[in-house]
Symmetry: C2
Subunit: 466 residues, 2 copies
């Protein structure tokens, strides 16, 4: 239902023939839809179009483009035009744009911005002080500031003058004493109050805020929890640095989720959409983990080779290995995914590790027993197989599921404890580890249950020195 | 940093001794933090506490509890008290509450609600008409309605009277002609307009809306795309049924992501947080997929057994099987995750399948070649291994990665094409399929490259009749 995909080709044609038509579209379409159209043009065409518009009209379109599109289009424009557009963008988007551009070009745009709009340049520098993915990077340093001594009607006047200048969030006003934030009041409360009322009694003083160094995902979750449309960014001294609005929080949640899902599948996060990611980038971001996991899996071959006497003694045993270890990998990835997601949404904390261990242990026993019984029955369907061998397979499945569930649950907690991101390829890594351990579990159980067979064949397996 | 976890035990003690203190807390804490405290109490205690509060104060706390908590606490209350609280809740939360309660109790509450607040009962019925996870279920049938002929100051009066009655969204007013929505105007635009202006020229008439039957995740993505704080739900005739607000969209996104992640790991979505999910529910939701995948993996054993002559002829070959098939599984789950996520966020469409196939095919060749070269070198490190065997391993890795990448990418697209959710256990399912295919690829390549060895041993493998 994207308008641009319905009308795209037609609109493109019209715009090429008569670029003035864009002005008409401006009145009729949402900037988001215009951005969709612009992003289907060639960068030169898009640059030409945007340059024709007043910066004020171009900014809302330009800031809605993907970063890589902004970069491509800006490269076709004069640094001064880009500066003009940037000065009309929201501060956080402006900072994102400047960091998307090449260093040299970004420098030139910033120099121009300095001349066009020194305050906008200063805001960029304020935001760029903060680390990537922090609240500081998301914030807009400009907001509706009021003082607690004002009357309600004066607060409205402050809101009106802020709304007139730009497209920024105005539905909460921030009451300052000096630079310190002492309370907030929503436009809702102001509408319900009498115009001549003092602001002070209408202020909410139990502030919910974030630090500029807070992780952007935590910010988004906090806003979701408290149903906030905007949240102030305050430093340790209670000074307000800016505000973060809900639209940015939504984008953050989606981007962070994509990263997490990719990490769970053993892919370095891509930064760009599927079709925008270059072939080489894919090879790098997928290859690095595939190779790491491949090297890890070589231990399965080493282990199997080491236990060769056992597998020689127990005819056909090696054919059950993929079946056994995949059960471990599947149960392990279930557990790790549950724990990683639980930690990401704040349902599970490090201090819960003991309860989780007990639970996953029990789950491993039950799930392993279910698979074990099925496996036991399946093996006995072959007339040449014996009850001791079927028992070995059954018990191995219990052991492997216990290993999978407990390691799958504990490794993410351990990684988090070390301050690492538990999503970083935990799942495939755990699967590889569980694969090797699964082979060891199988051999150790076989040594006991099938002792006769193994002794008879003269095989004396030792514990694998990995 | 949850206040309740810092102060929880103290607050609990105070409240038990003097429940009136809750009134003091009401002024000082956000309802969200109060809900955190209430959720740590026993259901009877929580019910007693909430019953002491006026329904108007209890509702914002109650509606922030998890559904299962609401159910447990409501079960300790009189249907009439629950009805009173429900009447003060937002309509979508009210409908959720009633569907969380047991059928009989829900019926009793609804009967009481009918008496207490017939309009609220009617709203519940309106919402419950729509299917689960649809826009209709998320919407609030109550919103600020204005008419295009009004003046700006009259619109403000409508907003004020709506804001006074409840805690609902007021920052967009919806202009109706009859029941038809003809335009929207934001409080921002109203603040900037002159009070005596006619509303009509200030209306935005290019409406962005959703159908009541739209999927809730699509609704959330649309709101994120257009940076909307609320979106109207309209039927095919242009009648407005209600609005959906951004806080609900955020919650939907998080819940849908959790489901997707769980499905990717082969777990039936849990509905409840980790610690709230009963042991039995876990066994069911994990066990069903573990068993299905386990049965699928039995084909690997069948395949290996079928090709026994080949594995007997090529000493040690079976020890490489886990290594080989895990490379296929890993590359397959990378591809399927990329495609599933790309479709979820709208970056990838069904019509792109051909481009994806070409890309993934090429990626499989390159990634497989990288692994193949490493595998080739590793095999030759064993003095007893021959170049033909190393070549077989290397080529098999190419074949397996190509199989993994292409099937991993195409199966989700195929499932989507059939109207199924591609996240439903695609990844582990694909891994199992690729495992079996990997064995076949290995044997077919071995038959060619190691023809001498296999012929010599008198083995004549045929294609596996699965």
């Amino acid at each position: 239902m994207r308008l641009s995909s319905l009308l795209g080709p037609d609109i493109k044609k019209v715009l090429k023939e008569d670029p003035e038509q864009l002005r008409v579209l401006l009145d009729e379409l949402h900037p988001e839809d215009l951005a969709d159209i612009v992003s289907e043009l060639e960068p030169e065409e898009a640059a030409e179009l945007l340059a024709r518009l007043p910066a004020r009209d171009a900014a809302p379109i330009f800031e809605r483009l993907e970063e890589h599109e902004q970069e491509e289009i800006a490269a076709e424009m004069q640094p001064e035009s880009v500066a003009h557009i940037a000065s009309e963008m929201e501060a956080d988007d402006r900072a994102d744009l400047l960091s998307a551009l090449s260093d040299e070009f970004s420098e030139q745009v910033l120099e121009n911005l300095e001349r066009v709009d020194p305050e906008a340049a200063e805001e960029v520098r304020e935001i760029e002080r903060w680390p990537d993915n922090s609240a500081g990077r998301l914030m807009n340093p400009s907001f509706v500031a009021v003082s607690p001594g004002m009357r309600v009607e004066e607060a409205f006047a402050a809101i009106r003058s802020h709304a007139a200048g730009n497209n920024e969030f105005i539905y909460t006003a921030y009451a300052l004493e000096g630079d310190r934030l002492v309370g907030v009041v929503s436009v809702r409360d102001l509408i319900l109050a009498e115009p001549r009322d003092r602001l002070s009694p209408h202020l909410r003083r139990n502030l919910i805020s974030v630090l500029p160094t807070d992780d952007q995902e935590d910010v988004a979750r906090k806003m979701a929890k408290y149903d906030l449309n905007a949240i102030p960014v305050m430093d340790h001294r209670g000074e307000i640095l800016g505000i973060i609005t809900i639209d940015d929080a939504l984008d953050v949640l989606t981007a962070e989720q994509t990263e997490d899902v990719q990490r769970l599948a053993g892919i370095e996060p891509l930064d760009l959409p599927y079709f925008k990611t270059s072939f080489l980038a894919f090879i790098r971001k997928r290859g690095v983990w595939l190779v790491a996991l491949f090297l890890g899996e070589f231990f399965t071959q080493t282990a199997l080779r080491h236990y060769d006497p056992v597998f020689q003694a127990v005819q056909g045993a090696s054919y059950y290995v993929p079946l056994l270890i995949s059960a471990g990998g599947n149960s392990g990835s279930q557990s790790s995914t549950l724990i990683i997601r639980g930690m990401a949404v704040g349902e599970i904390h490090l201090r819960d590790w003991w309860r989780i261990l007990v639970r996953e242990l029990a789950m491993g026993v039950v799930l392993g027993s279910i698979l074990g019984i099925i496996g036991f029955a399946r093996v006995l369907m072959y007339p040449e197989q014996t009850v001791p061998f079927a028992t070995t397979i059954g018990l191995t499945l219990v052991g492997i599921c216990v290993t999978g569930c407990t390691l799958g649950a504990m490794i993410p907690i351990f990684l988090r404890r070390l301050g690492l991101d538990p999503a970083t390829s935990s799942t495939p890594f755990i699967a590889s580890l569980v694969d090797v351990l699964g082979i060891i579990v199988f051999v150790q159980i076989a040594k006991v249950v099938l002792a006769n067979v193994i002794e008879h064949a003269g095989a004396h397996p030792t514990l694998l020195p990995l």
